[in-house]
Amino acid sequence: MKTIMDLREDLDTGKVTSNELFSISNKKAHEYQDEFNSFVTIVDKKEEQESNTLLSGIPYALKDNFSTTGILTTASSNILKDYVPVYDATVYKKLKDAGAILVGKTVLDELAMGGTGTTGHTGIVRNPWDKNRQIGGSSSGSASAVALGIVPFAIGSDTGDSVRKPACFGGIVGFKPTYGRISRYGLFAFASSLDHVGCLTRCVKDAAIVTDILKGKDERDMTSLPDEDIKYSDVIDNDIKGKKLFYIKEITDLNLYKDAGEETLEILNKFKEVIEKCKKLGFIVEEISFDEQLLKAIYPTYITISSAEATSNNSNLTGIPFGPRGNGNNINEIMFDARTKGFSELIKRRFILGSYVLQKENQERLFKNAQRLRHLIVDKMNELFKTYDAMILPASGGIAPKFDSEIDRMSDRYLMLENHMVIGNFGGFPSITIPSGFVSNMPIGINITGRVFEDGLTLNIANKIEEALGYKGLIKEEYDV
């Protein structure tokens, strides 16, 4: 399957025109829509814009929680089912300016809260490698659109692991740079202190190319980082000899998974093979020990902080200045009705939890303790990053789950292996998932998380490992046309 650079060459040599590329993407989008449900909206009219960037004329998909003027933007929630924004997200604007062509707005877990791709208001998203399996989420449609070969890249958002987990399940690359590297203006907020914009691509280099376009200071986002004068795509081939990686014993030690299923064991074994390959490449890789108490607290901490921020961030959804109007005799009844009908139960449960942890009498014990725990974990990571350049771990402890299986992310078995990528959000660290092989004919992935602000080095390390592993541009045969 072709990467952005392949398509760039085709465009530049006149092998294909951007109109043709758009038509192909548009056709595929429609063709796969019933089966996989990647999109909330498929754009049928090509945006006419030209530029001389690497992305000019390249089709892409955008998660349906980015504001796009004149194009329906639902966040896959009934409460925004007819919302047509009047302004552009900075990310969308930058892509337009770069000449990239929007093919569609992709399905997400409702309001980006969830990791299954099953909670969007327009139905479930299926995994291209096995239609009976989830693609994961919340950037579900963005992952499936790239994994299906509809587009070479897609934009997602990542609050826990919402770009990197579905990338893993779809056999593609998912990257979220340092917090603040890409402006969040126009990204519908889930948990502002954890929200990142990220991209899903077929290879590390494409992730670097897309991030080069998206990054930069935005006057609309006070947390956005100042401009840098490096291009990540220029540094990804740097020599990595002597760079130091670590992995966490308490997450990867096979002895801890004696009663785990075959697939988990195979994933862990394959991870050890990756480690060996890394060493051959010239990396120094070491196993380190991380306080288990902290690791086990990652997910409850994440749920506590993210639900609290989410309940506040979504308080604007009342159906008054925008969104479907509720019925009722007075203003409170109207808001009440709009919100009761507009949110699914899952969302409501998170909101109740979020408001509970913020209540005056609980805040110290719950919300603030979670923020303290976050601090401890980030401090520990920064300590490790004094010695090491990146952390490497399996991106998931299993292959993409079937729709009927229920993963309880709070269960002890999965608590650490399934949730460690949230660390990247806690500390705003650049973090990337790349494919690392197959288990039970389903793709698996590894995750590399680097030092804050060092997006270039993180991509550099990932690119070198990707070269060695050879799983670049994966796509299931039947979709590779």
């Binding site: 924004p85 009047v86 986002d221 308080s315 200045p321 005056k360």
Partner: protein, 471 residues
């Protein structure tokens, strides 16, 4: 009698070009929903971007209220649902406000009193609701306008003190230029907390919110004190609750009790990074704070020996006070300057609805005018006429005096010649004068007639006296 304890929370809009967290215009508008950015209406995906000027003005006000300012300022979210709050939360300051533990001095019936400030914090205003028979309309123009909330300690013990504080606070807003504090436009709103007790322990307080004129504040306090007094007299207890002042029926009405109090679930606004306050910034802002009313009154009374009454009139408007200071700097005595300003200029400005800074007659002109009076070149009565003529014709006093020819005759010989001529004509009256009859004024009148009133009156009088005695 019960001891009254009052705490005040005063909201005042800050004067800026743009809103607190967006670039939409911050201006009073006749047209609804015209000054609105994506942020102000709470559209999905928006982020607040804090306004430097609003922030500086908040710090200035904190310093003017003698508050301690923190090294790092943060913003918080106050979460609640109301149709005038489109985001579903208000950005305010709870954790690290711009100022804490301050005070200001006020004068109540001639006595100085210190009012302690608990804190002052920067937040944003809500949308405005217009109510009709069976519906309301929402105008978001006001949503996001920077708002400063000043919270006093419960240290105010009379209605007079409360009102003196409000006037003083308003004065500080105006003097620092932080706000126009236009009460008629709802730019200043007051929440009042009142409790009564028999001794020094605090009684149970009630709160009245959003009172939008000082007179209403006065009435509301009177009404609530009366209500609480009656309850306590009957041996009943006061409940901690929020009440609404119904001005039409002069009563306060229960809105909700403490049990129903909203938990605002404050937490730090994650989209606004902590803002570091440098000593340089504090010094820079301190330099921009002018001398305030209370201090000016002290100066006028103690250094200039003006009465409290006059001093208070002069400092009411900073521009008048600045004008006065300027004339004193030029060399007028405080007394002569303040007399002319209060007896002539303020009346004139009032009559033509003008402000002193937009008015032709500068401090320099007042200096020239009064100096001419002092030199005897014109009379003090003439000075008022010259002033009016200056304003009418936009000309300097010296020019007007020249044109009108109102300059006094102060030349001894000119006047003496006239006096001698008149005395020669009426020896009979000189005779009468000797006999004790008062004919003196006849000669003064004759001199004035001949000089068209320009002869210097005191000089004329002394010459007549001299010449009569010679005969």
């Amino acid at each position: 009698m019960y001891k009254v304890t009052i705490g005040l929370e005063v909201h005042c809009e800050v004067k800026t070009n743009s809103k607190n967290f967006s670039s939409a215009k911050n201006s009073y508008s006749e047209y609804p929903n015209e000054n609105i950015d994506t942020v102000d209406i709470g559209l999905p995906g928006i982020l607040p971007v804090a306004n430097k000027e609003a922030f500086k003005k908040a710090l200035m006000m904190a310093l003017a209220l003698n508050c301690k300012t923190p090294d790092i300022v943060m913003f918080d979210r106050k979460n609640y649902y109301y149709p005038d709050l489109p985001k579903g939360y208000q950005i305010t300051q709870e954790t690290k406000p711009v100022g804490v533990d301050g005070y200001i001095m006020v004068n109540v019936n001639g006595e100085d009193k210190k009012i302690n400030i608990n804190n002052i914090h920067l937040e944003e205003d809500t949308a405005s609701l217009d109510h009709f028979n069976d519906y309301s309309l929402i105008d978001y123009n006001r949503a996001g306008v920077p708002l400063l909330e000043t919270v006093t300690e419960p240290c105010i013990h009379s209605i007079e003190e409360a009102l003196a504080f409000l006037e003083a606070l308003k004065g500080i807003f105006l003097y620092t230029g932080v706000s126009d504090a236009r009460i008629d436009r709802g730019e200043m709103r007051v929440d009042v907390n009142i409790s009564l007790s028999k001794d020094d322990t605090l009684g149970t307080r009630t709160e009245m919110k959003n009172i939008n004129s000082f007179n209403s504040v006065k009435l509301a306090m009177e009404t609530e004190i009366k209500r609480q007094t009656e309850l306590l007299d009957k041996g009943e207890v006061i409940e901690q609750e929020t009440r609404r002042f119904d001005e039409e029926n002069m009563k306060t009405i229960r809105l909700r009790s403490k049990a129903d109090a909203i938990d605002y679930k404050y937490y730090i606004e994650p989209n606004i990074p902590p803002i570091i306050i440098s000593d340089d910034l504090i010094d820079e802002i301190k330099k921009e704070i002018p001398m305030l009313q209370f201090e000016r009154i002290e100066k006028y009374m103690n250094e200039y020996m003006l009465s409290r009454h006059d001093s208070e009139i002069l400092v009411k408007d900073k521009k008048v006070s600045d004008y006065f200071d300027e004339t004193v700097k030029l060399g007028l005595t405080p007394k002569e300057s303040s007399n002319f300003i209060m007896s002539v200029i303020l009346g004139y400005l009032n009559k033509f609805d003008m402000t002193i800074d937009k008015f032709f007659f500068t401090p320099n002109m007042l200096y020239d005018l009064i100096t001419m009076v002092n030199k005897g070149e014109i009379s003090s009565k003439q000075s008022k006429e010259v002033f009016l003529k200056c304003c009418e014709e936009n000309k300097e006093p010296k020019k007007i005096v020249k044109e009108l020819g109102v300059t006094q005759i102060t030349d001894d010989k000119t006047i003496r010649d006239i006096v001698i001529k008149r005395l020669d004509e009426r020896p009979d009256l000189i005779e009468d004068h000797r006999k004790g009859k008062n004919t003196f004024n006849y000669f003064v009148g004759e001199v004035m007639k001949e000089t068209k009133g320009k002869a210097n009156p005191s000089l004329t009088a002394s010459i007549i006296k001299e010449e009569m005695e010679k005969r």
